[in-house]
């Protein structure tokens, strides 16, 4: 794996991260090093419990690593900040606020002192990106799961973060809804050249969205077992992708990897 921290193209550099919950015990994961270029979408795939969420939370600054460090733009991160936007798995919208107020809260945090009217325009712009302008005055409890997750995405984008972090953002959605939002997300990322680090357990989603895939071995003491560059052209679309050359090979490769790792974990019968 190539890891050149001084190359200016790297927006994010993750350097030998390790996390252990008990002193001297087996770490959840160790020796996690990778980098993310500007405008790149990197997906992490791996079995449940291997520490993906923990890695993402460390990148977000919400958790701390036992050792190793993460830097963005050459600065080591010390906590959460507006330079990173997070789309939470459980949407994490404030149920007492309307959709508009949820997004406006993020915009006001990003632009303190912005005029009321400007905040409103900006809120409408970002809700428009996820086609939710009509639902602006509704509360999260009145929305479907897919709509809530879209508000979460609009909120994350509205702070124009350098790095967008997403932890299985569509895990709880049905396949159709998921597809629609994936297309939307791909569109917005292409327009804004957004840098993204995301976690998924859906192989098709990973191949559609990711420029590069990090395959995690199973825990405990999980590692990055393999880094796969997506051979498909950057302009991918959900409608055509499975007819494209290289798609099946890539899919089979990842599938084999996941199944093989799963078998390794199961106890052997004598």
């Amino acid at each position: 794996m190539q890891n050149e921290p001084n190359k200016p193209d790297h927006l994010v550099v993750v350097d030998t991260l390790e996390k252990r919950y008990t002193k001297g015990g087996v770490p959840v994961f160790s020796d996690i090093s990778f980098s993310i270029d500007r405008g790149e979408i990197v997906c992490m795939i791996g079995h449940s419990g291997c520490g993906k969420s923990t890695i993402l939370n460390i990148l977000a600054g919400l958790e701390s690593a036992s050792s190793g460090q993460v830097s963005i733009n050459g600065h080591t991160i010390r906590g959460p900040g507006l330079d990173r936007g997070v789309v939470f798995q459980g949407h994490a919208l404030m149920p007492w606020l309307t959709v508009e107020q949820n997004v406006a809260m993020a915009i006001r945090s990003r632009h303190p002192g912005m005029q009321r009217g400007d905040v409103k325009n900006m809120t409408e712009h970002y809700l428009g990106l996820v086609s939710l302008k009509e639902a602006m005055h509704k509360r999260p409890s009145e929305l479907s799961g897919g709509m809530r997750q879209r508000v979460g995405i609009a909120r994350a984008f509205s702070t124009t973060p350098e790095l967008l972090l997403m932890d299985e953002p569509f895990g709880a959605l049905d396949a159709l809804t998921r597809g629609v939002i994936q297309d939307e997300l791909l569109n917005i990322c292409a327009q804004t050249h957004q840098t993204v680090f995301m976690i998924t357990h859906d192989i098709d989603e990973a191949i559609l969205l990711a420029d590069r895939l990090l395959l995690m071995s199973s825990g405990p003491n999980a590692h990055i077992a393999e880094v796969v560059q997506n051979p498909l052209p950057k302009e991918r679309s959900r409608a055509e992708i499975h007819h494209q050359k290289g798609y099946s090979d890539l899919r089979n490769h990842i599938m084999d990897f996941l199944v093989q790792k799963l078998n390794l974990k199961e106890p052997k019968n004598n």
Binding site: A60, G61, L62, G79, P80, G81, L82, R84, G85, V86, F88, G90, A92, M94, P95, W96, L97, M105, A106, S109, R110, R139, S141, T159
Partner: protein, 286 residues
């Protein structure tokens, strides 16, 4: 939600029950002679010993009939705020005095308990440290504080306020602290990634998230305060609705006692209804 017709039926039932209650009251307060015929000689003797001869039954301390009560109540309610001297003040004036004490004592309890609860909710160690004290102080009947309050504070007026304060503070404190401690971690994570200042975090996340639980505590606290003030005023006050009840009892004016008791109930209900509305306005569906 209840259907509209069910609500109407419920209302009709309430009206019927009221009528039944009034009829029973009327029957039980019929003039004494009608009962004498059916009672045994022994019973009559007992009544005699108790001073309940037909002659005394005509006296004013007979339990009032609904009609008598209505006449007396109207007399009192005609000038509810009259204030001729300390022993002769209108029922409205007395009710106002009680509400004023509750406002001060309960207001102080809210001012102390909500910020302290916000703090306890965020600091598990402080919460654990204070918990034994709270658990011991909480179940103490407000009236049990009275002697200590009288000895240390001396002033009867301030004692009443103290008793309100000390009994309404616990549910507010416990509910606020519980509401804050149970805040979803996700919401606080959002606050952190948005780099909210502590004031904005408090105002935008913590308070609205915990508001339903806080208001529930405030509602319970106000209910207890209203129970306590009447009792406290009966014990020490020289004004207030509780003092009024006791004073009218000493005057053997049962009509006024009944009127005051009804008024205490109605006032308590109005206060509770106001808080129920407040509770609805801050509640949210997850």
């Amino acid at each position: 939600m209840m259907r509209r017709t069910d609500k109407l039926k419920g209302f009709a039932l309430s009206v019927l029950l009221t009528l039944a209650l009034l009829l029973t009251w009327q029957y039980l307060t019929l003039p004494f002679e009608t009962h004498v015929g059916s009672s045994s000689a022994q019973n009559a003797e007992y009544e005699m010993l108790m001073g309940h001869t037909p002659a005394t039954q005509q006296a004013s301390h007979n339990f009032p009939s609904p009609r008598q009560f209505a006449v007396d109540a109207w007399q009192e309610l005609k000038s509810p705020f009259h204030n001729t001297n300390a022993n002769n003040r209108g029922i409205g004036w007395q009710l106002g005095a009680s509400l004023y004490r509750v406002l001060i004592g309960y207001g102080l309890a809210v001012i102390v308990a909500v910020p302290l609860g916000l703090l306890l909710g965020q600091l598990p160690i402080l919460r654990a440290g204070l918990n034994p004290f709270i658990q011991i102080l909480r179940p103490i009947s407000p009236l049990a504080w009275m002697p200590i309050a009288l000895y240390t504070i001396k002033d009867a007026e301030e004692c009443g306020i103290f008793v309100i304060f000390i009994c309404s503070i616990w549910p507010i404190l416990l509910n606020t602290s519980f509401g804050v401690s149970r805040l979803r971690k996700e919401w606080l994570d959002v606050a952190r990634t948005l780099e909210l200042s502590w004031a904005r975090r408090l105002w935008l996340i913590i308070l609205p998230a915990a508001a339903p639980t806080i208001v529930t505590g405030m509602r319970v606290g106000l209910g207890i305060a209203w129970l306590a003030i009447v009792a406290a005023e009966m014990l020490v006050g020289s004004s207030g609705i509780g003092y009024f009840v006791w004073n009218q009892w000493n005057n053997l004016s049962l009509s006024n006692v009944i009127l005051a008791v009804l008024l205490i109930g109605v006032t308590g209900m109005i206060l509770d209804t106001a808080f129920a509305a407040l509770q609805r306005s801050v509640s949210y569906a997850e």
